[in-house]
């Protein structure tokens, strides 16, 4: 239990460090990536490329193990079919992402660092999630 929580904390710490170093907490860097017809900024492509390169190689090996190091099982989604809920959710998320340039990870790190815009965004994000959760009960 202690090791599991330490591992979760360490993973979060690495994740947060990556978000801070990569510049993804700056919403204008993200908006620059989405601005393909204007002042395009490729930074996000390098962040996503670096991250997926690691997960694509290592996830396969990890999932071949009988169980996680701390026991229990792997909690990996098993659904494979596309549905409208998935696509509609992704589209709605994308519109919000394009309006502000914030997604859940970076905005939480930004809020922790005291970014004013993040402090406005986070409560609205939690409210949106709450409403969607209620609708889909």
């Amino acid at each position: 239990m202690k090791f599991a929580l330490s591992a979760a904390f360490a993973s979060g710490a690495l994740f947060g460090a990556g978000l801070a170093i990569s510049g993804m907490t700056n919403r204008f860097v993200v908006l620059g990536f989405l601005d393909v017809f204007g002042a395009f900024d490729p930074t996000l492509l390098f962040v996503m490329g670096g991250a997926v390169a690691v997960t694509a190689i290592a996830f396969r090996r990890v999932l071949k193990r009988p169980a996680p190091a701390c026991g229990g099982g792997f909690h990996v989604p098993t659904a494979d079919a596309l549905d409208t809920r998935l696509i509609a959710g992704a589209a709605i998320f994308g519109i919000g992402w394009g309006l502000a340039g914030f997604c859940p990870g970076p905005v939480l790190v930004g809020a922790a660092a005291g970014l004013r815009d993040a402090w406005i965004f986070v409560p609205a994000m939690l409210a949106g999630s709450f409403v969607a959760g209620r609708l889909h009960q």
Binding site: A4, F9, G12, A13, L14, F15, G16, G18, A20, S22, G23, N26, F28, L31, V36, F37, G38, V47, M48, G50, A51, A53, V54, T55, A56, A58, V62, R65, P68, G73, H75, V76, P77, A79, L82, R85, L86, I87, A88, G89, A91, I92, F93, G94, G96, W97, G98, L99, C103, P104, A112, A113, L115, I120, A124, A127, G128, S129, F130, H136
Partner: protein, 153 residues
């Protein structure tokens, strides 16, 4: 503008290099979480589970989010990456955007990390479809907001 001499600090400020380094850290974090406790490092999913989860399913989420916000938040104050720290946008736009991001990630079961970093790493068809969809929607939104007259706030 003249040419900028390449020094250690300009290398550090190169966005592609810090982006790649940050990306590798994020990917490693996702691998560590899956290897240790068998969980997917999708931030929206982790956040959503805090309130509704069974007691035994909550502690790791709080530990992860604590590590992420403490270390990320402190680093953000010191790392020489490009944050204009007190960026300001219209509050109404930020509120609307926040609501859509929360609603959409809950409905679609994932965000940039869950579907992007982790889902693509698992070669998930659903995640690929989600990533293509939210990137296209984001690009279309920025196109309208920045390049269609009358829309920019």
């Amino acid at each position: 503008m003249g040419s900028i001499p390449i020094t250690r600090s300009t290398i550090l400020m190169n966005h592609w290099a810090t982006g790649l380094l940050g990306g590798v850290l994020i990917g490693s974090a996702a691998v560590l979480l899956l290897w240790s406790i068998g969980r997917i490092a999708g931030i929206s999913g982790i956040v959503n589970g805090v309130a509704g989860a069974a007691p035994g399913d909550r502690a790791w989420r709080i530990a992860f989010l604590g590590g992420m916000t403490i270390v990320g938040g402190v680093l953000l104050l010191f790392v020489p990456t490009p944050p204009p720290r007190f960026q300001t946008g219209p509050a109404s736009l930020l509120l609307a955007a926040g609501f859509l991001v929360g609603f959409g990630t809950r409905l679609g079961n994932g965000c940039t990390s869950g579907h992007g970093v982790c889902g693509l790493g698992r070669f998930s068809k659903r995640s690929l479809a989600a990533v293509v969809t939210f990137m296209a929607a984001g690009m279309a939104t920025v196109l309208v907001m920045r390049h269609v007259p009358g829309f920019s706030p």
